[in-house]
């Protein structure tokens, strides 16, 4: 019958129109007076009494709070997490990068790392502007020194600013993603919940060896 199909279609549209939106507002969302009071740490009545301007703004839907979107732990973020103490400068990551955007320059004679000696890393530049976040460099790292980061808000106005130099990598937020790092999932680490991991021992696949084992392996056996 002509028209019946249209009625059925209208029913679907109506049913969906009554649902709450699926959309997540980003980077901030508008809240009413109740939400504004919660954000300011006050009761709604207290907010109106002490900060009438803020309360009026909230009533007119002009007050917004930032939204934090939790990603999954394996999220391949826009920033890399690098543990210098674990890195030996082997440049496996630079070799495995399909685009060749990692530049590593080393000089001999570093400090003692977890086990053995290392090169000093002079240059470790990652050109984020050309990176496609496939994560092959992280997969290639045999010492768990390089990890994908978990943050993603890294837009810049210039292309040159997109290159992460070694100093920035050293000081960057150590919030590694668990992408290709099964040890994080075994320890139930979630970067978006647990935050930073600054201890370079705890990000490896093995437990930290005690001093006796290290002495035995590196002093006595030699």
């Amino acid at each position: 019958m002509i028209g019946l199909g249209l009625l059925k279609a209208m029913r679907v549209t109506l049913r969906n129109a009554l649902k709450t939106p699926f959309t997540i507002q980003y980077p901030d969302r508008k809240v009413g007076i109740a939400g504004a009071a919660k954000n300011e740490g006050k009761s709604p009545v207290g907010l109106v009494a002490t900060q009438p301007v803020t309360a009026a703004k909230a009533a007119m839907s002009l007050y917004s709070v930032p939204v934090n979107i939790p990603q999954n732990p394996r999220f391949r973020g826009n920033e890399f997490t690098w543990y210098e103490n674990r890195c030996t400068g082997c440049a496996s990551c630079a070799k495995y990068c399909p685009l060749g955007i990692i530049e590593i320059v080393t000089s001999p004679g570093g400090f003692d790392v977890q086990e053995g000696e290392s090169y000093a890393i002079d240059v470790f530049d990652i050109d984020i502007g050309r990176c496609m976040f496939c994560g092959l460099c992280v997969e290639a790292c045999p010492y768990d020194a390089l990890h994908m980061g978990s943050r993603f808000e890294r837009s810049k106005y210039e292309r040159d600013a997109l290159v992460i130099p070694v100093d920035e990598l050293r000081e960057a937020l150590k919030q590694p993603s668990s992408w290709f790092r099964p040890q994080f999932e075994e320890r139930e680490y979630d970067p978006f919940r647990d935050g930073e991991r600054t201890d370079h021992y705890s990000v490896g696949r093995h437990e930290k060896p005690d001093q006796e084992t290290l002495d035995e392996r590196w002093v006595e056996e030699r």
């Binding site: 199909g5 249209l6 999954n72 999220f75 495995y96 496609m132 976040f133 092959l136 993603s177």
Partner: protein
């Protein structure tokens, strides 16, 4: 009283920057009044040289290039490429890895069909609503991919012989939730569109292609099944473990725009069935072969291999030639989008201007794959 109006053919250039062309595609169309009398498709605007780029990358690195060919079906592209590499290098894949990649690629098939249906309806003029409904469902599947491999579109999830990481524990309940929600949504699509009189009058009997025409042009996929030809590589030439799962192959006999739309909607239901069976059959075990069997720098013996899968758009094949080095000597892609476009002139000539983009959308092409 009718008067005879004399009309002259007029040539219109559509694209490459046109919102309805699903990418950067250009058509030089000649109209006589509202009727199309000639079409000249021009493509190559999105050519990135993926096949050439593959020649100077190692076998594992090429995965990242296949993601970017058909960017709404990355998992399926990964699967086709990995099958070719495994054939070439003689790699025995790990069973759990194969089940995982079957689940991933069937999820991707649903997502790809949702995009195809949504944009087809948008081309019909239903601006927004059905497209947003389908995109909402696709979003949930992309969230599952993020849980699996950390990325939503450019997955790079597969490796020779399996996948790089096992699915996390929370993936299985999340996937079941999505699969439970999907059938009512597909029913909604049916209510909204399949019984809709406006859709009937716009799509039925438009741009009919006969099975003979399509077989001559080697068109595959939902387009061919919409004309009643039972040709599905998952059934005809089972790869991975498709011979262990049961599924139906929806067929339609009309071969018009409506049939192409209908087949895609029904295939989504079949994909859900396949995923349910894979979930039952999957067993714990290694997800990829040992590093000694499949080293990072694969050096396959001299030779060539062709592997094809049933992509959401048709038969996607990778032809790899090895000269014994760490990178392929030649990598050729049999892209279904490009080959399905070859009958565009036959589809469009004689149809009306308003139906042009509907027919074009019903082919479900992806310019990233056409131009590569």
């Amino acid at each position: 009283m009718t008067t005879q109006v004399r009309t002259e053919p007029i040539t219109v250039n559509l694209g490459p920057q046109h919102p309805s062309t699903h990418g950067v595609f250009r058509m030089r169309v000649t109209f006589d009044g509202e009727e199309i009398i000639d079409v000249e498709p021009i493509f190559g605007y999105l050519h990135r040289g993926s096949e050439k780029l593959a020649e100077e990358r190692t076998y594992v690195q090429v995965v990242t290039l296949t993601d970017r060919m058909d960017y709404v079906g990355s998992m399926l592209n990964n699967q086709a490429y990995m099958l070719a590499v495994e054939k070439l290098a003689g790699v025995e894949p790990a069973p759990r890895g194969v089940w995982l990649r079957m689940i991933a690629s069937e999820l991707q098939r649903i997502a790809s069909h949702l995009v195809a249906v949504g944009f087809l309806i948008q081309d019909l003029g239903a601006w927004g609503t059905p497209l947003i409904y389908t995109m909402r469902e696709r979003e949930k599947i992309l969230d599952l991919f993020e849980m699996l491999c950390g990325a939503r579109i450019t997955n790079s999830y597969l490796r020779p012989g399996g996948v790089f990481m096992d699915a996390p524990e929370e993936f299985w309940p999340a996937m079941n939730e999505v699969l439970d929600e999907l059938p009512p949504r597909i029913d909604d699509l049916d209510d909204l569109l399949t019984d809709n009189d406006i859709i009937f009058s716009r799509t039925k009997g438009v741009s009919i292609l006969t099975p003979e025409q399509m077989i001559d042009a080697s068109i595959t996929g939902p387009m061919l099944r919409a004309a009643g030809v039972d040709w599905d590589l998952r059934h005809r030439d089972p790869y991975d473990y498709y011979d262990q799962v049961k599924f139906d192959r929806p067929l339609h006999t009309a071969g018009d725009n409506f049939a192409r739309y209908w087949v895609r909607v029904q295939e989504m239901r079949e994909s859900i069935k396949i995923i349910r069976q894979c979930e039952q059959l999957i067993e714990p075990g290694p997800i990829r072969p040992e590093h000694d069997d499949v080293p990072w720098l694969l050096r396959p013996p001299v030779g060539d291999a062709y592997a094809a899968i049933e992509h959401s758009k048709g038969e996607l094949g990778f032809y790899l030639v090895s000269d014994g080095s760490i990178s392929p000597y030649r990598c050729h892609v049999r892209a279904p989008s490009l080959i399905n476009l070859t009958l565009l002139r036959d589809m469009l000539v004689g149809e009306l201007l308003a139906d042009m983009f509907v027919s074009f959308g019903s082919v479900d092409i992806n310019m990233g794959e056409v131009d590569r």
